[in-house]
């Protein structure tokens, strides 16, 4: 279980050329890449074992989409590089879950605590806020975890929901052979910079309802302090 939150994050799936977009939730390729970096794999190293993991995310705090219009010049300042738009999610928080063999998951959890390469949220310029891993859970499926883990949004965001429970969006790897679902080009086959390759992955979108820890039974509408009640003879 990972909590992905930071000032900025960016999870591109279909970016081409100078318009680098972000999905509204972390991509499997992004998280697999993060795990690969934590375990110290280089770009060209095999990642087949990571692809056996089942993956799901929950949008605990959607954040806001921000656009960065970027200009750059070559080091000597002579030529300008192509202008580009980069999109980020600001102030978002996600719960990402990977499911797999116990030993392998423990190994990954350990790697996240002692990463070999620096970890970041989709793009090198997006450092995570706080520890990434929330630990492991034995015998639970992705759906179990997404449905039962406490809400991991920032307290200030939670307080804006004045209800005892909240409904959060989830995006989970579809069961093999599932009838419906959306297909995204988000199955990393190779991170080799010379030849990046992504396969297709089918996802199922859904929602889960979790408790809002900041909810308090609404205060009485009337001020509890009624000084006139202490007086006689009005």
């Amino acid at each position: 279980m990972l909590r992905l939150s930071g000032p900025l994050q960016s999870w591109g799936v279909s970016s081409r050329f100078v318009r680098r977009t972000t999905e509204s939730q972390p991509s499997k390729s992004g998280v697999v890449g993060l795990l690969a970096a934590a375990t110290g794999r280089r770009r060209t190293d095999p990642i087949e074992d990571l692809l056996t993991l089942r993956f799901g995310v929950r949008v605990d705090q959607p954040g806001r989409l921000v656009r960065d219009f970027q200009t750059a010049r070559t080091v000597d300042g002579a030529r300008s590089m192509p202008l580009s738009y980069r999109f980020y999610l600001a102030d978002a928080a996600f719960l990402a879950v990977v499911e797999g063999e116990n030993d392998f998951i423990d190994q990954l959890d350990d790697a996240l605590r002692h990463p070999v390469f620096p970890l970041y949220l989709g793009r090198r310029s997006c450092p995570p806020a706080g520890p990434l891993t929330l630990g492991t859970r034995r015998g639970a499926s992705v759906a179990d975890v997404l449905g039962t883990e406490p809400w991991r949004a920032a307290p200030w965001w939670q307080r804006t929901f004045r209800s005892p429970t909240v409904t959060l969006e989830t995006v989970v790897d579809a069961e093999p052979g599932a009838a419906d679902g959306a297909t995204v080009a988000d199955l990393p086959i190779s991170f080799d910079p010379e030849r990046r390759l992504y396969g297709l992955r089918t996802v199922e979108r859904g929602t889960v309802t979790v408790a809002n820890p900041t909810f308090v039974e609404h205060a009485p509408d009337d001020d509890p302090h009624q000084p006139m009640a202490a007086l006689g003879g009005i």
Partner: protein, 217 residues
Amino acid sequence: MHLTQFEINPARRGAQKLLGSPQAMHAAVLAGFPGDDVGRGRILWRVDSGPRHTYLYVSSVRRPDLTHLVEQAGWPTTATWSTGDLSGLLDSLAVGQEWGFRLTANPTRSTRVGDRERSQRVGCVTAEHQLDWFLTRVARWGIRIPTSGGSPSVMVNRRDVRSFRRQDDRVTLAMATFDGRLEVVDPDLLRAAMVDGIGPAKAYGCGLLTLAPLGRA
């Protein structure tokens, strides 16, 4: 002594002017008394704004006439104000009683600013300082704050730094509203604190301590 409750209609322009400037409210409250009443005892007031009601409380020796306030900032065709006799409550204060209370005050401390010769009064701006200010003074008001679960049963419910014009000057006040429970230790001291007010800025909506029966909070 009298305590008056007046409900402010915040939708009215007159109300916004009064709520926006303690100086204007001060003038409006004093205008509720004929000239020779003003010199007689302290007139204290406070605004309690809640989610549904905004009340002005005034404590005074004589009954006020707030007709002008109703016209400016109330509901002229339906609502007026209510004045109750505070003397009964003041007389019935006895050692050991427990009351709910509210106090909006201007907590200050004196400190030397720069290389001036005399120290200067500055407002306490953090909640901790304000609570400290309150708790170190309760004994001289003849009260004790009971503790519940190890901490005193009082909290700073609202904090404000109000800044407004007074003729050609600018007045800046750090205000804090204390809500909680108190126990009467010395009825005479408490009576004096309630009649004369507590702390600085009494003209500007600070210093009025009101009591309310416990149980609803």
